[in-house]
Every structure is written in structure tokens, then in C-alpha cells.
């Protein structure tokens, strides 16, 4: 049983009128009317009084309702001059309100939403809207306004503020989010708060769960073999396992779509085993529209290949025109193509095998 105090401080806030004052009350129990009249809000009937309970809820207080001030009673009240009570929801909790507007600042306070969390207002016929700190929400509409908060992790990348919903972000994903292409070649530096900097590679995982905002800076790498190399063309997609394979083998590859609709995967300057009349060649593979249900078949070389000593290679008498140039056709096939497991990597074993076999002749 707590000792009765001599006086109780009550804070009354009227956000609309920008009224925020504290007064002392000596009685243990007061009615809603007494509170309003003490703060000079008359006639009390014209006001709505809400108690801000210790657990964060708002409770309407009737004019004749007795509030116990000692112990765990409320110390803060909100009042507004209004003739009805509105309601709104924050993260699934319902709050009554007296005004037909409430500021986002106050919503954050009542809903206990930290500054780094974003606040959204649900909409029904369009996307939910993110609420800015200087806004007010209009509660006068017919439907219940519902708001919710989400945590976002922010990272500034090359001057662009990006947001992610997980704290661990790979550098290459951060670059993509900021509109930068990772393949282009960057020297990437991560700046922590407090002046520390760290040079990081594309696979580095940034941890944004530490407080404060990180900054990522990127400087384009210059290619030192006589000017910048042109961007590889990627006009259509391959299977994810194909792209992984090509990256792993560090092949320079492009996917292009010809005017006649044919789609080609081209491996540029593919290194050849010894025994051919060239050290490398461009290898083109036709990728059917229904790949991988339709198989990869054959491959085409430019410059056309001969064995050392000007010897012809069997099964290479056909050709195909790609980008206006004549590629030499090698008729080699995978038997028993399985769309679930076959792809560029398995077709490459055929290509590697053929080239090695011919080179040995």
C-alpha cells in the first residue's frame, strides 16, 4: 500500500491548441469534470478527456468518472474540444482520440515507435503510404485509419539513400539497389561512423544492425589494357545455374538476340588447347526459346578452326551467320538431354571434350 502523497502532478495536453501544462492536485480522487475545470476548460461538456495510462493505452474519461490519482493511476491526460470520439489503430492496437487530426509525431509517441522505424498508413485501393515526420493524419473519414511500423535498415550508397529490410546486406546487392552495375568493376569502400574506412569486395556482408548510418562509396575501376572494355551484352536470361557456372569459370560471355529471333550465348576469346591454328576463338551456342526443355546442340566458332598444319576438322563443314559473320559449325550433341540437370555446364563438357579430342590428332 503506497503512502498517500501530499499532491499529485497532472499533465494535460491539447495537441491542437498546443497546450501542455502541469498542475498539482491535492485530492486522491478527482472526476473528469474536475480535471477539465481545473485547467479552465469550460463548459466541461464540450470537451473529450482521455487518460494516458501507464501501459500506454488511452482510456476515455467520463465527466463524472472518478479517477484514483495515487498508486498506478494515470498522470497524463489528453483533452480536445470535440463532439465525438474518433479511433485509430497503431500496429493492431486501438486508440481513441478526440480530434479529427493527429500528428505523426504524436502517433510515434503513443505507439512507442523508434525514429529509425518507418510508419505506414494502410490504404485499400492503392499501396500503403509511408508517413513523414512533419505530417498529420486525417481521422475524419468514415473508415478506421490503421497504421503500422516496420524496421528498415538504411545505407547510403554513392549518395543514394537505400533501405533494406534485413540488417545483413551484400555489397553487390547494395550497388544494384543504388542503380550501379556490379559487373562494371568498382573499388568499394565502407565508411563506418567515427572515421573508420574499410575497402570491401562484392561478396562482403555489411551489418546494418549497428546503430547509425553506414556509407558505401564506389569508385569505378579502370581497365588498364588499353581503355575500358565494353559492357557485355545480356539480352536474354539463362538459368541461374548456367550463370553461376560461367562466372566460376571466369569466361567472358554475352547473350544476344539476332534479328531473326535466334538467341546466342557467345563465349568471347575462349582459350583453346594447343594443336589448333589459333590460341582462342569466339564460341557461339544457340539457345532455343524453350531451353532447357529444348536442348543445347552443336557449337559455332569464329575464327573458324583448323588443326595445326592446316588440317581440316571433321564435322565442321556447316556454318551459321551471327552478327553478319560466318561462324564455323561443329556438329556435336548431348544424347539424352535432361532439362532438370543439363545446361551450359554439361554442354561445355561436350565442347571441352571435342576440342581436346581434335587437338590430340
Amino acid at each position: 500500500m503506497t503512502k498517500k502523497a501530499e499532491s499529485y502532478g497532472i499533465r494535460l495536453r491539447m495537441p491542437r491548441e498546443k497546450f501542455d501544462t502541469k498542475l498539482d492536485f491535492t485530492d486522491d480522487e478527482v472526476t473528469g469534470r474536475q480535471i477539465l475545470e481545473r485547467f479552465d476548460l469550460r463548459p466541461a461538456e464540450e470537451y473529450v478527456l482521455l487518460a494516458h495510462e501507464r501501459d500506454g493505452t488511452l482510456e476515455p474519461v467520463g465527466l463524472e468518472k472518478a479517477i484514483c490519482l495515487h498508486g498506478k493511476g494515470p498522470e497524463t491526460f489528453f483533452a480536445s474540444k470535440a463532439d465525438g470520439s474518433k479511433n485509430f489503430m497503431i500496429n493492431g492496437r486501438r486508440f481513441p482520440w478526440g480530434d479529427d487530426k493527429i500528428s505523426v509525431e504524436l502517433v510515434r509517441e503513443l505507439g512507442n515507435i523508434p525514429g529509425e522505424h518507418n510508419l505506414y498508413l494502410e490504404r485499400h485501393d492503392e499501396a500503403d503510404r509511408r508517413l513523414m515526420d512533419d505530417e498529420s493524419i486525417d481521422l475524419s473519414g468514415p473508415s478506421l485509419e490503421c497504421m503500422y511500423s516496420t524496421q528498415e535498415f538504411k545505407l547510403e550508397v554513392q549518395g543514394v539513400m537505400c533501405a533494406f529490410d534485413t540488417p545483413k546486406v551484400l555489397v553487390k546487392d547494395a550497388l544494384v539497389e543504388a542503380g550501379l552495375s556490379p559487373e562494371r568493376g568498382w573499388i568499394v569502400t565502407l565508411y563506418h561512423g567515427g572515421g573508420k574506412e574499410l575497402e570491401v569486395d562484392l561478396e562482403y556482408e555489411i551489418d546494418l544492425s549497428q546503430p547509425g548510418i553506414e556509407v558505401l562509396g564506389a569508385i569505378p575501376k579502370t581497365v588498364t589494357d588499353g581503355g575500358t572494355s565494353p559492357e557485355p551484352r545480356r539480352e536474354f536470361s539463362l538459368l541461374p545455374r548456367d550463370e553461376e557456372f560461367l562466372e566460376q569459370r571466369k569466361l567472358q560471355w554475352e547473350t544476344i538476340v539476332e534479328e531473326n529471333g535466334q538467341r546466342w550465348l557467345i563465349l568471347r576469346r575462349f582459350p583453346l588447347p594447343k594443336g589448333f591454328d589459333h590460341p582462342n576463338t569466339d564460341i557461339a551456342i544457340l539457345v532455343p526459346l524453350n531451353y532447357p526443355d529444348a536442348p543445347l546442340d552443336m557449337f559455332y566458332c569464329l575464327p573458324p578452326l583448323k588443326l595445326a598444319g592446316n588440317r581440316e576438322i571433321s564435322g565442321t563443314d556447316g556454318s551459321a551467320e551471327i552478327e553478319g559473320q560466318k561462324f564455323q559449325r561443329w556438329s556435336r550433341h548431348i544424347t539424352d538431354w535432361n532439362p532438370e540437370t543439363d545446361g551450359v555446364s554439361t554442354h561445355m563438357t561436350v565442347i571441352d571434350g571435342c576440342l581436346a579430342q581434335e587437338a590430340r590428332r
Partner: protein
């Protein structure tokens, strides 16, 4: 708000759930279904994956169960990337096929948490109950926690079973009750030509409630020997095959809902429209289109009936004759052996069909050089054969919905009928080598059907 009309799962998913939910100790057990929405109105829910909640992590009794928070958290992290629907499923070993009061209290706690964690347009999450006889009920609620029962739950397997009706009297086949049942179903016919027009005719006359007909082609004079309901004036006016079928259907079954897709099955609109169906009939001769139908079946959990006809010729001493007159019916269940695994579709033929279409001179050169058979011959155009095949196709579906076969359905994954030898050859799934495909239950997420051709165009490289 679009309500879900049905929930579908595969035999494998059911087979994973049942022994876990009924381990034999008479206590309740739990599992979590991660589900995806497919269909043009997003009205079909399909099970993408099954999480079995460790018995040790729950408090289990014979009439109640406590959900471990960690299992739910794991499920929300799985569901988030594609805004999937989470269904919390538990068993009632006592056999109560209803939600109990304890179940309702539990839902009141868990549903808001799921809605806060996994959001999306029109989001729904729910709960379900299974009983030892395999019966199941499920309900979903929206983010305002307004709930409704999912009307039908399908096990789309060797048999097509509605788990919500396990306790009801079995429907007598070929009775009025069967017609009533079919009127609740949606069938999609892909290819409305020789066999397809006959399949559509039978489905409509049987009383199937909704038909989705997909074909891009128009009627020509040479089709009049086999497309049912096609007339001379249709050929003259170049009417589309789908429109001929619709006209006929509305003349004898005006209440049947008919949706026409005048496009190739390979177009994304056609694929999405087909995903609304409870069964797919593939009546095409090109391997490419059939492989797309097969991918729709596995990604969207829809049983597929693929029908083909062939009249191979024989030549002896310069005289041509008919070697056989045959038709093939493949019943493909999602999770079972695919048409490619059954060698009913050959990948190299898909490639060749494309080359014939795109680069005809190059293809002609390849045919001449012996690299390719000439696939330009159209499928045999014989109505007597098409009718038998079309009837077998629709009958196959009825066999899967109702008990019509004395030996059950397991032996009839593929049936090849030879009219020359008057014999039927049957193969069961065990006759094929097949493996679990990651496509099963993947739904309509990008890239569509897991095919690179439908991947969204690559981002422009900015500098």
C-alpha cells in the same frame, strides 16, 4: 476481396504430413503449410512446402497443442520473400472434423502475428485440421481477421480426392450427383482441334461448370474432317476454333461458363488463365506446347491429361501401308514422372520444331544433311481415331475422380492403345525413372514456369 476457392496438395506432400500428424501415440501434432496463390483471379491456393513441427518442440495432448514460436518464426521467414500464405495445420486424433473452441482461441493469438510478419495485397493466412481418416478442413482470414472456410481441399495425386468430403457418401458415378459435382469444377482444354474439340464437347455435355479453351488457330477447309461443330461457313469466315466450340457449348449448356484464350499456350496470359483449372487436357501435337502444359501442371499443382494420336506408315517394296493406328493417354500428377521423363516429349524435337519455325532454310539444310527428321507433317486427321482418343482422355479424368477401375489407378499412368493389334499397353509410375522437381508448387512467380524465356528483361546498365 478475392476469396480462395480451393487448396491443393500432392501425394508426396500428403504422404509427408500424414505419418507426422498421426504418429500413433494419440496426441495432437502440428505442421505448417507454406502456400502460394495461382489462377487468373488468384483463387487457387497450392502447397509450396511442408514444415513438420518437431514433436519435441510442442506441448502435445490428446485434445490440444501449443505452437512453438520458433516454428512460426521460421515459417514467416520462408513465406516473406514471395508473400506466401501460411496455414497452421494440426491433427485431431479423436476424429473431430471441426475447429474446437481451443482452436479458435489459438487462432486469435497466432493470426495477427502472421499478418504482421507476412504482408501483401489481399493477404490471407489460416489454420487447418486433419483427422485420422485423412479428412481435412481449413479456414483463412484476411488482415482484418475476418475468416471463411476453404470450400475444397484437393489431394491431386494418383486419385483426385476432395479431403473435405471424405466422410460424405461416395458419389455414384454417372448419376445426377456426379453431374452436380462436375458443375463445381473447372477444366482447361489446350488445343481445340482434332482431339481438343471433342474433349471440350464431352466436358460440356457432362456438365462441367467452367471451361477454359485455349487455341490461337482458325478453322480451315481441311479441318472440317475432324473438328466437331465446325461448318463450311466457319472455314470461309476464318472463325477461330475456340469460338466454334463456345458457340456449340452455349447452344446446349448455356449455364456453362466458357472462357476463351485466343493465343498460343506459350503466352503468359494463357499460362495464367490455365492455372485457374482443376484439370488440364493437353490436346496439341507440338512437343513445345505440351512441355509448357506440363510445366503448368507441376508448378500450379494441376493434374494433366496429355493425349496423342499417331498413324505410323510402313513401306515395303515400294508399297505404303499403315503400320498401326494408335493413341496414347498420359495422366500426369504434379510430383509424378513428367512427360519428358516418360519420353512422351523429346527435348530434341522441341529444338527441331523451333528451328523449323524460325530458320526454315537452315532447318531444310539440316534435314537434307540428315540431322533432323522432317516434322512438318501434321498429326493424322482421322475422326474415328480422334474420337476414341478424346473419349479415353475424358474417361481418364473420370477414373481419377471416381472409383471406376477394378484394379485402381496406379497401373495406368500411361496407356497406349494399338488398334492394329487390338491391345492396350499400360505403364505405372514405377516403369519410369523420375526425380523430385524443385518446380512442384512453385506457382507463378518469376521467371514464369522456371523458364529463362519468361525472365523479366535484364536491367539497363546505368553509369
Amino acid at each position: 476481396m478475392n476469396q480462395i476457392a480451393s487448396l491443393s496438395m500432392t501425394d508426396e506432400q500428403y504422404g509427408k504430413l500424414y505419418p507426422h500428424l498421426f504418429p500413433g501415440d494419440g496426441l495432437e501434432a502440428a505442421a505448417i503449410l507454406i502456400c502460394r496463390r495461382v489462377g487468373s483471379e488468384r483463387e487457387r491456393l497450392i502447397v509450396r512446402s511442408v514444415d513438420l513441427v518437431n514433436h519435441g518442440e510442442c506441448e502435445r495432448a490428446s485434445n490440444l497443442l501449443s505452437w512453438p514460436g520458433r516454428a512460426i518464426k521460421y515459417a514467416t521467414s520462408e513465406a516473406k520473400p514471395h508473400a506466401d500464405t501460411i496455414i497452421l495445420l494440426h491433427s485431431h486424433p479423436g476424429g473431430l472434423l471441426e475447429f474446437s473452441r481451443v482452436d479458435n482461441d489459438s487462432s486469435r493469438d497466432t493470426m495477427p502475428a502472421l499478418h504482421t510478419a507476412v504482408r501483401g495485397a489481399d493477404m490471407a493466412h489460416g489454420s487447418a485440421v486433419m483427422t485420422p481418416d485423412g479428412g481435412m478442413i481449413a479456414r483463412l482470414c484476411d488482415k482484418k481477421l475476418k475468416s471463411y472456410k476453404i470450400p475444397r481441399i484437393y489431394r491431386a495425386g494418383t486419385d483426385i480426392i476432395d479431403l473435405t468430403r471424405i466422410r460424405k457418401t461416395p458419389i455414384l458415378p454417372f448419376s445426377g450427383a456426379m453431374t452436380d459435382h462436375l458443375s463445381e469444377l473447372t477444366a482447361c482444354v489446350i488445343g481445340v482441334s482434332g482431339t481438343g474439340s471433342l474433349v471440350a464437347e464431352q466436358l460440356a455435355r457432362l456438365g462441367v461448370g467452367r471451361l477454359i479453351l485455349i487455341d490461337f488457330d482458325k478453322v480451315e477447309d481441311r479441318n472440317l474432317n475432324r473438328i466437331i461443330n465446325a461448318t463450311c461457313s466457319d472455314a470461309e469466315e476464318e472463325v477461330l476454333k475456340t469460338h466454334v466450340a463456345e458457340r456449340a457449348i452455349t447452344s446446349h449448356h448455356p449455364e456453362t461458363k466458357v472462357k476463351l484464350i485466343d493465343a498460343n499456350i506459350e503466352s503468359p496470359d494463357a499460362i495464367i488463365a490455365a492455372s485457374s483449372a482443376d484439370v488440364l487436357f493437353s490436346c496439341m501435337d507440338k512437343h513445345a506446347g505440351r512441355s509448357i502444359a506440363e510445366r503448368i501442371s507441376s508448378t500450379c499443382l494441376i493434374p494433366l491429361i496429355d493425349v496423342g494420336v499417331d498413324i505410323p506408315p510402313r513401306e515395303k517394296n515400294g508399297v505404303m501401308s499403315v503400320a498401326d493406328i494408335c493413341y496414347r493417354i498420359d495422366y500426369v500428377r504434379p510430383g509424378g514422372p513428367s512427360l519428358i521423363e516418360r519420353k512422351s516429349i523429346l527435348p530434341h524435337v522441341i529444338g527441331h520444331e523451333e528451328r523449323l519455325g524460325n530458320a526454315p532454310e537452315q532447318a531444310a539444310a539440316e534435314i537434307k544433311a540428315g540431322y533432323m527428321r522432317d516434322f512438318s507433317e501434321a498429326s493424322p486427321a482421322v475422326i474415328t481415331l480422334n474420337m476414341r482418343a478424346a473419349s479415353a482422355a475424358v474417361h481418364e479424368w473420370l477414373c481419377r475422380l471416381f472409383k471406376l477401375r477394378l484394379r485402381g489407378n496406379a497401373h495406368y499412368a500411361q496407356t497406349i492403345t494399338s488398334l492394329a493389334s487390338c491391345k492396350e499397353k499400360h505403364r505405372s509410375e514405377a516403369d519410369f525413372t523420375f526425380s523430385e522437381s524443385p518446380r512442384v508448387g512453385r506457382g507463378l512467380i518469376d521467371p514464369l514456369l522456371s523458364l529463362p524465356r519468361y525472365a523479366p528483361q535484364k536491367k539497363e546498365i546505368k553509369m
